[in-house]
Symmetry: C2
Subunit: 552 residues, 2 copies
């Protein structure tokens, strides 16, 4: 590989939302960007979380110079506790992002060995053949950045997760001037966030929510309960600001919300007037229209404070008519059902509930089509690669770029593991590396594969039938009637007769097979076939059948 | 109960979308409205479908005069094959609805005994103390109706599933004049569709989609593949109309789509110019820009034609660059994931895909807030009860009514099973009847309850461990080492040592317990505790543990 050839390899976050991770490789140097996790899809039964396959990085460990993190969301930092012990390289990020990484690594018992390097926007860092700097972007967490990476092949711009907000509540607007300047000088490659490539127009400013919160604070006859993402510090700020304006005090409920708020206050990312924040037991002594709770539970998490309140199961806060609840978030895909049920349960208790469908109580953190186009217009990249999205988002983002004059052959829609190789003049997809989903289930990383999941799926559908067959050690003849135990198959009381019948059937079938019954593989197959057929005829269900032979 | 007292009891469709069913009771007469099914929620593992609990109707079978069906969607007719054999009463519906019911009953082997009565809008039918007539409404299926029911207590108006479309493609607009006339005479109770009570404004007319289809037909460089609900006959009509205009031929793919189209053509609900419809093998001989396929798969159903195409698994249609696919539907809640994956897979094959987020290729069939208000304004009911929606929809619809001047105490937000009792002057919630979800799994209706589902859920998370313990019949002592078989718990090759260790541990533990080991309940508990603790420490997983003792 020529010294100036640059390889870009996404290991996660393309074609599938979440577990963002990619690498830039040039000669003997590899720079890793982000190390996120993904929450398991519905069909990944019992899995706790999903991280990227980093076998390519482990094989090339000696080349890896560092991991650069764009912001502190789970889908960008969540895999660090699993990845870091295998790579043992420094992590580069902004101040708040490092604060969140520290919490994450501590939970994962990987903090002690970590080398964490704080980098401010504008500051330049050289790692092997790469020199990078951060530029501030607006996103639904403070201190988010994009990357400008100087490589021997040219300049690469990585948008991070971004929207354009000219009036952000926390932090600075996206630094468009710096990008325009780079664009004028010549950018080799733009990697840009595709999450909302489906949406026409502009994503509204965070301020819009502030105005709505202001009205709600003024109008709500009683207590106000606001839920949002714990990391959405600017939203918390806006709730505090509106509360201050309307003479309400603010009480923060839920561990993750309290932890983040505390850290954000300490690090100077959150500001609260003296005496506005209170301890929850103080709330009872205030008139309802002087109280605001900020709480976890925006995603309908079963153990969160809001869900407990909705289920009349929270020790301190009992929903009462006159309460107004603001769900200042949208459900992450897959969570719609639990969030809807939470809203329903709050309504059932007589509360007023404001959520995204009925009021503008949330704006999201990714740019819509006009913002994506503006970035392309300023950066003017030679090559373009949409990142951070499912395949349709990437495709639509590619089409946007094409509509703006980027030649089709200069646009690369990759999938995880694809290698994009860029020389000074030419770019092409040049093979693949190992990539995919690594499942974390309990303590174990990566042991769960297709067989275990297939079995869980089968068990989840029609349950299991265990058949225990006692066979005489000498004669190989069946002893007594086979025993049958079921779980998750049928109501065993109502189907007692059917189970008994199947035991008789099995006894007859095995008796007929006579002497050959000692051959386990034969019995095994016979038992499976017999029971499968019998139960399917009777119930149209297909439980997993697990025969077991005991020699007596 | 006084003779003129009217009782309204929803058995399904309130608080939870789907399985719509309600009854009106007056003296010795019961009238049933709709008998729908619901598709199982994610947590209902292995369940095929869900129907309402009709034990109240079965107990009062002698009173039930008939079942009136508002339209032919599954959530209004799907429970008929299960309900009808238990009630044996006539079914009243419009022509196309009866056609769909016939298909449904035939599938469920319940057609032969069914008494099906065709009723045209305007025609009056007397059943006991009830006299009802249909009025046409617009919905996403032709021949949908609402109900005007004359009862001894007064007139009840049931909206059916409706939107207001002044330019419908199939059928007539909602008959607002008849409703205004009734409103002027006095309506006791309005029962009205709440599905889209969250949406401000008006739902667009079906014609809007026709215009978009017209543009797409003109612009698409190659073949066009349109998918929609099989029952959305007006959409199929619009595809045929646009195809005719642009000189394309239409090929219908997928069993349910072909069946419905054939019936709709025969009954006169669908019109196709001569020669426009073709057999799929004829499509190959036409230039791509003369071809339109209409296919099933709008919900990402795994065996549907479109999903097979997306997975390169359809025998006759292979997606090629230049193809344009129109997903003319929105995903039903819960189907978002599979629909998105289908769209992604179509993009991966180089097709252009138009779906609800990027083009107006679908409008839905329920009225938005302004339509709901218009109905309330015309009907001017004394009492109001929102129906057809989850609790938040019902609550928001109730608020709409309140904002229009219906007194709060005259509005009733019920849940399934609640009894609304209306006298000439007063209405109140007067107790509950048995209601809830009855699960259909394979051949069996209602045997699956909490225990089976709980077991399936447990099995789906961390699998199962079966421990077989051989005990000497005389001494009660353990014989050999216990055997252990697992499914869905761990990768058995990687965890071989752990499994062996757990066998040893179990042997030691049971040996120590000595003579008491014959007591099965004791061994059972001991084995569960020991293994649960051991496995949780090692893996942080909690498989179901199923001990089994064999006496030898």
């Amino acid at each position: 590989m020529a010294k100036t050839k640059l390889r870009i390899i996404p290991l996660g976050g393309l074609s599938e939302i979440g577990k963002n991770m990619m690498l830039l490789e040039c000669g003997d140097d590899i720079l890793v960007i982000d190390a996120g996790l993904m929450f398991p899809a519905e069909e990944m039964l019992g899995i706790d979380l999903v991280i990227p396959d980093i076998s390519y990085l482990v094989e090339n460990r000696h080349k890896v110079r560092g991991i650069v993190i764009t912001h502190g969301h789970e889908d960008h930092i969540g895999a660090l506790p699993y990845v870091l012990p295998q790579l043992k390289v420094p992590i580069y990020a902004t101040k708040l992002t490092l604060g969140l990484i520290r919490v994450k690594l501590k939970e994962g018992k990987a903090l002690s060995e970590a080398k964490l390097k704080e980098v401010s926007p504008g500051e330049q860092v050289t790692l092997g053949k790469f020199r990078f700097e951060f530029f501030p972007v607006c996103h639904s967490i403070p201190d988010a950045v994009g990357l400008i990476i100087h490589t021997p092949a040219g300049v690469v711009v990585h948008s991070g997760d971004f929207k354009l907000d000219y009036t952000p509540v926390s932090g600075k607007p996206t630094d468009l001037s710096r990008l325009a300047q780079l664009g004028a000088q010549g950018v080799l490659l733009l990697l840009s966030d595709s999450t909302y490539a489906e949406l026409p127009g502009y994503t509204p400013s965070e301020r819009v929510v502030g105005e709505v919160l202001d009205h709600v604070m003024a109008d709500a006859p009683g207590r106000l309960i606001v839920t949002t993402f714990a990391s959405l510090v600017s939203r918390i700020q806006q709730v505090i600001d509106a509360a201050a304006k309307h003479g309400r005090r603010v009480f923060i409920i839920g561990r993750s919300m309290s932890d983040t708020a505390r850290m954000a206050l300490e690090l100077g990312y959150l500001h609260a007037p003296d005496g506005i924040l209170g301890r929850i037991d103080e709330a009872k002594r205030l008139p309802p229209n002087k109280v605001v709770f900020i709480t976890t539970g925006s995603q309908g998490e079963p153990t969160s404070a809001l869900v407990r309140m909705a289920n009349r199961d929270h020790r301190q806060v009992h929903i009462q008519p006159g309460d107004t609840i603001v769900i200042s978030a949208t459900p992450i895909p897959g969570n719609e059902g639990v969030v809807n049920r939470t809203v329903d349960n709050l309504f059932k208790q007589g509360a007023q509930v404001l959520y995204d469908k009925v009021a503008q109580v949330h704006v999201h953190g990714h740019g819509s089509q006009e913002e994506l186009k503006l970035l392309l217009n300023l950066v003017k990249p030679k090559f373009f690669m949409p990142i951070h999205g499912e395949y349709r988002h990437l495709s639509l983002h590619a089409k946007l770029a094409q509509s703006m004059g980027v030649p089709k052959e200069n646009i690369f829609v990759l999938e995880d593991g694809d290698i994009l190789e860029i020389g000074p003049r030419l770019a092409r997809i040049a093979g693949r590396v190992s990539s995919g989903n690594v499942y974390v289930d309990g303590l174990s990383v990566g042991d769960i594969g297709g067989v275990v999941l297939r079995n869980r799926r089968m068990l989840s559908k029609d349950g299991i039938v265990v058949a225990i067959i006692a066979v005489n050690r000498q004669t190989g003849k069946l002893v007594g009637r086979p025993d049958i135990v079921t779980r998750g198959f049928v109501d065993t009381r109502k189907f007692k007769d059917m189970i008994e019948e199947s035991r008789d059937l099995l006894a007859r079938t095995l008796d007929h097979s006579g002497a050959r019954a000692v051959e386990w593989s034969f019995i095994n197959a016979k038992v499976r076939d017999t029971l499968d057929k019998f139960y399917y005829e009777r119930t149209k269900r297909r439980p997993m059948i697990l025969p077991f032979m005991v020699k007596v």
